[in-house]
Amino acid sequence: MITGLGAAFFYLFAFVAVASAFMVIAARNPVHSVLYLILTFFNAAALFLLTGAEFLSMILLVVYIGAVAVLFLFVVMMLDVDFASMKRGALEYAPIGAIVGVVLGAELVLVLAASAFDLGRPATTSLPMPDPAVRHNTAALGDILYTDYVFFFQIAGIVLLVAMIGAIVLTLRPQRPHVKRQNMAAQVARKPADAIEVVDVDTGKGI
């Protein structure tokens, strides 16, 4: 259990997270929805920070807010999607939503009951984790990511390289006309004398 100041912050962040999550689906303006989504992510990050998972917290900030949510924002602003008409029939699906809600609620009760009565844990071993007081978890993750799991880390890098090559192969068309490409030789060969012209302008006349 969390108590004291920690508990106060927990309830604050948890409340704001749930409220802004609700606003994501309730807001009329899609741009507001995305902004509420970002607020939800912020609060989730703060909750992670409270539990001592500072690495997850920062990753959430960098990846979800810095990249994913901003991408959403761009998509919402650039594409002319008529969200109002998409939302119109939403209430028809309320019964299905209610069923899903009941199922999730039942699962929650089951999990809680299981942990309260201790119905037996699976006989599995989890990876040993250093005490957060001794080694904070960013360093602990780094300890194994770059040693024991360096092999997987490198393969993941190569998978990303393939994704990048694939995206370029399937979309880049160097032969197409009107493509302006960087010409480094021309850029380097350019001298100040070619680019800058000093003009003496008479006051009130313009060029």
Binding site: P122, A123, T124, T125, S126, T147, D148, V150, F151, F152, Q154, I155, A156, I158, V159, L161, V162, A163, I165, G166, I168, V169, L170
Partner: protein, 481 residues
Amino acid sequence: MSAELLSESLTLALPEVILAVGAMILLMIGVFAPAGRANSTVTGLAVAILIGVLGWMLLMSGQGEAFNGAFVQDGFSAFMKTLTLIGSIVALAMSAGFARAEKFDRFEFPILIVLATLGMMLMISANSLLTLYMGLELQSLALYVVAAINRDSVRSTEAGLKYFVLGALSSGMMLYGISLVYGFTGHIGFDQIAAALTGAERSVGVLFGLVFLITGLAFKISAVPFHMWTPDVYEGAPTPVTAFFAAAPKMAAMAMFVRVVIDGFGPVTSEWQQIVVFIAIASMILGAFAAIGQRNIKRLMAYSSIGHMGYALVGLSAGTLVGVKGVIIYMTIYLAMTLGTFAFILAMRRKDEGNVENIEDLAGLSATNPVMATILTILMFSLAGIPPLAGFWAKWYVFLAAVEAGLYPLAIIGVLASVVGAFYYLRIIKIMWFDEPAGGFVPAAGELRLVMGVSGLFVLGYVLIGGPIAATAEAAARALF
């Protein structure tokens, strides 16, 4: 992991390291090479790198486990990697002529093939579910792009998209299975999973995970009922790409399948045996019947490959040393036959029409090009399993294993399916030898003639050279038991 341990691991995985670094160097060469020559330069260098890696593996490679047991190099992996590398090298070499003729000048193609080969080698050497998944994704991602590489053709992009969507679905199912297996055994290493399953009572969760895992694996070897992508991808992708798809990834995926079920789930053989038996029967029957109506030879080869994966799985379903030996021999012979057939398909080129793909285009080939017709006849007889050609021996080894394991119904259905399947192989022979000539093909490029000749000789002479191959395959299979 200490520095010495890391350097030991890297030494053991040196072929993979060379491929990864080589691919990156090739990328640089391709970007800075003059536009007209980039493809041929990079293709040549990629073939050289792959041959170098193959030579290193055959002559210098050590054995053991690396990276905390995530990666294993043993006799089985060496044999299957050899097959995979041969498949990649031949497919890449055969693409060179096609690239010249069809103005197919993307230098990224050989690089993606090298990276896909790297993924396949990781799959074959995988000793934990994590390595398996990462190798598989590396391979698949490269293959999706390669399938769609002719992006101006609607069929090629459709093939790529279809493969991508279905592949992503199967990856998801496999990952679900992996997470269940991890959750219920507490391990991802094959040895530890096997240890956790020995003696313990079988939990439903592990079996659930196993089913999903096999679903993903069956998709990758295009076994029924996860075969739907195969005909469309084979037909839509450019022919050199199809040749590559039919050869190298099948070897790697089958090797991975064998290692997972034998090494990881050996203690629960009776559980996965029934799944593999079902998949094998369904693949053999569908491969035999669905190919009958095909007019496009690439589609026909797709159904033929579905059927052949079924036969290979017959050996695996025995779950014994003899069975795995049968699978290895089957894949070796299948590689030779399929590469020869695709060399022939690539050589189906008319002066005015370019490459043709219909079976009717073969009409009367015996009159216009008797040498090619003879080689294809040998290959088709072999694919049908007519003695004394190689294809017969391949089926003989897997059916023998099934009979020894007491799976009589499976062996009987297999033999019946191969009789049905013989119909469409013989139909091609009939069209070539007895129909009115439909016009000849232009003389095939040198590399295609070489591949056809070598595979024809291999198939014909298997009776003579089969002994040492079977002995090597048995030694390779022994590494798993």
